[in-house]
């Protein structure tokens, strides 16, 4: 693990040194890294929106996903069959397809009787779209975790006169939480890495900001490598600690159980 962390950082350092040298020798045009320097605050501002979108989408996905997961493990076919269907459907659809669908099929304004009008700006719709695949996977993680609890636990709960709901609430689910956390963190990382897709539909997050910045700076080819490389770096710096942490939790869980 430690060597992984070290080697990852080392690789980055090498790439950082190599990239400008590579970019400098080919085309004519302004020095890309110098232009990038001026635009860094602008791009970081955009990145703040990536962070906001991922956090909101994750919270939404957790709430919806746990609900969907509980429906999946319900004994009533009426609840479990549709929940299973929705889970599988959204797990198998690419992010970009879900994003397109939400963007074009949900209106820009929603009228709720007695509540007034709600404006759904593009980034809010994108947040909702991103939460759907995560929701489906949270649902599946929950189902898997509950299924992994030994049958004996259910039986002994039953012998203590716990109802199904009670055993789930007090005995089964608490055991699942610890096992679920690394998976959930992993999905949070995947969610963050998917947020640049919002730029396709005009949301001015980090990638959209970088593209607008390149446009304003004259869209010279020398800008491309520095700007896209910088984008990769800010995501890396944000996500890498999450990845390390979730692995550590996963390993701890594996050791303890």
């Amino acid at each position: 693990m430690k060597s992984f962390a070290r080697s990852g950082v080392l690789g980055l350092v090498c790439a950082f040194i190599a990239a400008p040298a590579y970019a400098a020798d080919v085309s004519t045009g302004p020095c890309g890294f110098c232009v990038l320097w001026d635009w860094i605050p602008f791009i970081l501002n955009g990145f703040a929106l990536n962070v906001v979108i991922s956090i909101l989408a994750m919270m939404l996905a957790l709430v919806l996903g746990i609900g969907l997961g509980l429906m999946q493990i319900s004994e009533s076919k009426l609840a479990s069959v549709p929940a299973r269907f929705v889970t599988q459907l959204l797990r198998n659809a690419p992010w970009i397809v879900i994003l397109f669908m939400i963007m074009s099929l949900i209106p820009y304004r929603i009228e709720v009787q007695g509540w007034g009008n709600f404006i759904l700006s593009d980034w809010i719709k994108a947040t909702f779209a991103f939460s759907l695949p995560v929701m489906a996977n949270v649902s599946e993680i929950l189902r898997g975790a509950v299924a992994s609890v030994p049958k004996g636990q259910w039986e002994s709960a039953e012998s203590l006169a716990f109802s199904r709901g009670q055993s789930l609430r007090w005995i089964i689910l608490p055991q699942c939480v610890k096992q679920m956390i690394p998976h959930l963190m992993n999905w949070f990382a995947l969610l963050v890495l998917a947020t640049p897709l919002a730029s396709i539909i005009g949301v001015r997050e980090a990638v959209g900001s970088a593209q607008a910045a390149m446009e304003s700076a004259g869209s010279s080819p020398t800008l491309l490598i520095p700007f896209y490389f910088f984008l990769m770096m800010i995501f890396f710096i944000f996500i890498y600690p999450v990845a390390i942490w979730s692995r550590r939790l996963e390993r701890n869980y594996a050791i303890n159980s």
């Binding site: 304004r109 007034g116 759904l120 005009g202 446009e215 304003s216």
Partner: protein
């Protein structure tokens, strides 16, 4: 960093607001001008990445041809200017919802749009699809037959290049990428509006490139207010401003300033709308 944190907070806050509290006030027709004056701010919708019409500077501020027009409008009304970034997809809805008071967003004046929003006359620009290519490579529209042309996804006239001229459209998500596609030789030409191509050429970043063909057609570009305001104070005011800019040479001046290109359209309109005051010279 502080800016980052504040954006983060305001982002969360606005999410909460828009999810729960933000209701849109409905406008009674005709009194919009009074509302703008009472508010002391006019909100004008502009596009965000359309150099040199409306684009971001390094500090994140908007600038460009349309932005200059917007600030002149605010100045004339004696109110503050609030620029709202819109996209070609949501701009009409922004106006309908009252999130902006006016649109200066490079919008073609089309019959189906006039049913929804109040596009005012005269037009403040005109534009049509054209090509940008390496010098000497293309001399007529027929030269793109069987070759790849770079374009932006979702542009309404893209299929014309395929159906009428037999080209292959290589569609990118944005103009920045489409232009990079042209620059790195992934297509023989960039297929887009002449009012965008000419300023690109004038920017000095495209040595050895040209716009070898005339635009296929010329669509007037309209500024707009909400439909019930078309004949109200705000619509008539905007109409008058645009007329003034044509007649007093403001457009010609801005055309020069933003290197929008040597298009004859503004000169022609200036000629047409300029009031001949020679009769005042009584000799």
């Amino acid at each position: 960093m502080r800016k980052l944190v504040s954006t983060l907070c305001s982002g969360v806050l606005s999410a909460v607001l828009s999810a729960g509290l933000l209701a849109v006030p409905a406008h009674a027709s005709g009194d919009h001008m009074k509302e703008v004056l009472d508010r002391g701010t006019i909100r004008i919708g502009v596009l965000g990445a359309l150099k040199p019409w409306a684009y971001r500077s390094e500090d994140g501020n908007m600038q460009g041809f349309d932005i200059d027009l917007a600030s002149r409008i605010a100045e004339s009304l004696g109110v503050d200017l609030e620029l709202v970034e819109v996209t070609s997809v949501n701009r009409m809805e922004f106006l309908q919802q009252g999130r902006v008071d006016m649109l200066l967003a490079g919008m073609y004046d089309k019959a189906e749009r006039r049913k929804i929003i109040g596009i005012v006359e005269p037009a403040y620009g005109a534009s049509g699809p054209s090509l940008m290519a390496k010098k000497g490579l293309i001399s007529s529209w027929d030269d793109i037959k069987g070759k790849p042309v770079c374009a932006k996804q979702g542009v309404i006239y893209n299929s014309i290049a395929e159906t009428e001229f037999g080209a292959t459209v290589v569609a990118f998500t944005g103009n920045a990428e489409a232009k990079e596609g042209l620059r790195s030789g992934k297509c023989v030409a960039w297929f887009y509006d002449d009012t965008i191509i000419l300023p690109e050429l004038a920017s000095g970043e495209w040595d050895g490139y040209e716009m070898p063909v005339e635009a296929l057609n010329s669509n007037p570009i309209g500024a707009a207010v909400a439909i019930e305001e078309q004949d109200g104070a705000l619509g008539v005011f905007l109409s008058g401003m645009i007329y003034r800019w044509h007649s007093d040479g403001t457009f010609l001046e801005l055309e020069e300033k933003w290197k929008v290109g040597p298009s004859s359209w503004y000169a022609k309109e200036h000629e047409k709308l300029h009031w001949d005051t020679s009769y005042l010279v009584s000799e």
